[in-house]
């Protein structure tokens, strides 16, 4: 089969193909009533571009859906992290315990402090026991953040006790001037609770 066509049609076809290859799917060939085989090809190119636009829209919609889902999951994860990172437990009326677990950076420390202070106020707590047994990697900001927490608790009129301090953490505390902060330190959480209950005159034999 031989076909004689106007060179302008071939140029237009190539221009459209180049534009499409560059990502522009909005281009279209201007179709005319040319009763030849090239018209089938031209029509096919336009149909293909229609299909590419449709697929792109579909992909964009899917991408948007995935992003929305990812954002929702991130929000849920943050909420869960928030809940897990501030497990403030009332171990006795007026006595709160916060076992710190994992890495405590400035952002997390701020969230923990806010939650803890709210509980201190709401429960009119007299004592707060911060248990550092589970504190993992200490970033530069960890100890200052904990010391700020201790000072803030003191400003609300509650007494803060620290437990589970490891030797390396103790050294950091001293280096940061933690020794100047009036805070009682005990080895174990149970020791701190016993001490608090003794202060309250609730523990006989102490």
């Amino acid at each position: 089969m031989s076909l004689t066509v106007d060179a302008a049609r071939i140029h237009e076809l190539l221009d459209v193909l180049v534009a499409a290859a560059a990502g522009d799917y909005d281009v279209r060939l201007k179709l005319r009533e040319n009763d030849d085989a090239l018209l089938d090809v031209e029509t096919g190119v336009n149909f293909l571009l229609d299909e590419l636009i449709e697929r792109r829209l579909h992909n964009e919609a899917q991408e948007e859906e995935l992003l929305t889902r990812a954002r929702r999951l991130a929000r849920q994860r943050d909420e869960l992290m928030q809940a897990l990172s501030t497990p403030v437990i009332t171990v006795w009326p007026g006595v709160l315990t916060l076992p710190l677990v994992g890495r405590v950076d400035d952002e997390r420390a701020a969230a923990i402090t806010a939650g803890l202070l709210a509980r201190v106020g709401a429960e009119r707590a007299s004592h707060v026991i911060l248990d550092l047994t589970g504190v993992g990697a200490l970033t530069d900001g960890t100890m200052p953040a904990i010391l700020r927490m201790v000072r803030a608790i003191g400003l609300l009129g509650a007494t803060c006790l620290l437990t589970g301090i490891r030797p390396d953490v103790a050294q950091q505390l001293i280096a940061l001037g933690g020794a100047d902060v009036h805070v009682r330190a005990l080895a174990r959480l149970s020791d701190a609770l016993a001490s608090v209950l003794a202060d309250k005159g609730l523990l006989q034999g102490t």
């Binding site: 005319r32 009533e33 089938d40 031209e42 029509t43 149909f47 229609d50 299909e51 449709e54």
Partner: protein, 119 residues
């Protein structure tokens, strides 16, 4: 309306649908067509003779519906437009060849072919 339907009887006494098509065919138009020609539709299984006017355009979404519907009975299309012919040719390439569909340039030859085709 892009579609106009008429029920007629061929010279050999076979009932058929004469369908006049024009304008831009949208998704809604394609669904309307599909409703008539799919199983359970009024014209399902009937011979069809369609006249597609010059300037008729098949929208991208509409094309997919037409492809899904397929041919439940012989269907002859008459058109004088090379553009329409190219569009239908292309759509036909996506459908399985059943020998139930053909395009013609004139009504008499289309009707003769249709009249000879068994459902």
């Amino acid at each position: 309306m892009p579609f106009r339907y008429e029920e007629r009887v061929s010279p050999k006494g076979r009932p058929y649908v004469r369908l006049h098509v024009s304008g831009e065919l949208s998704l809604a138009d394609a669904h309307e067509y599909a409703g008539h020609f799919r199983a359970g539709g009024r014209y399902h299984g009937m011979h069809t003779l369609s006249f597609v006017e010059k300037g008729t355009e098949y929208g991208p979404e509409a094309r997919k519906i037409f492809l899904e519907v397929g041919q439940s009975a012989p269907h002859a299309t008459v058109t004088s437009s090379a553009l329409v012919r190219a569009a239908i040719n292309l759509m036909s390439r996506f459908s399985p060849k059943t020998g139930r569909y053909r395009m013609f340039a004139t009504e008499p030859e289309a009707l003769a072919w249709l009249d000879d085709k068994e459902a």
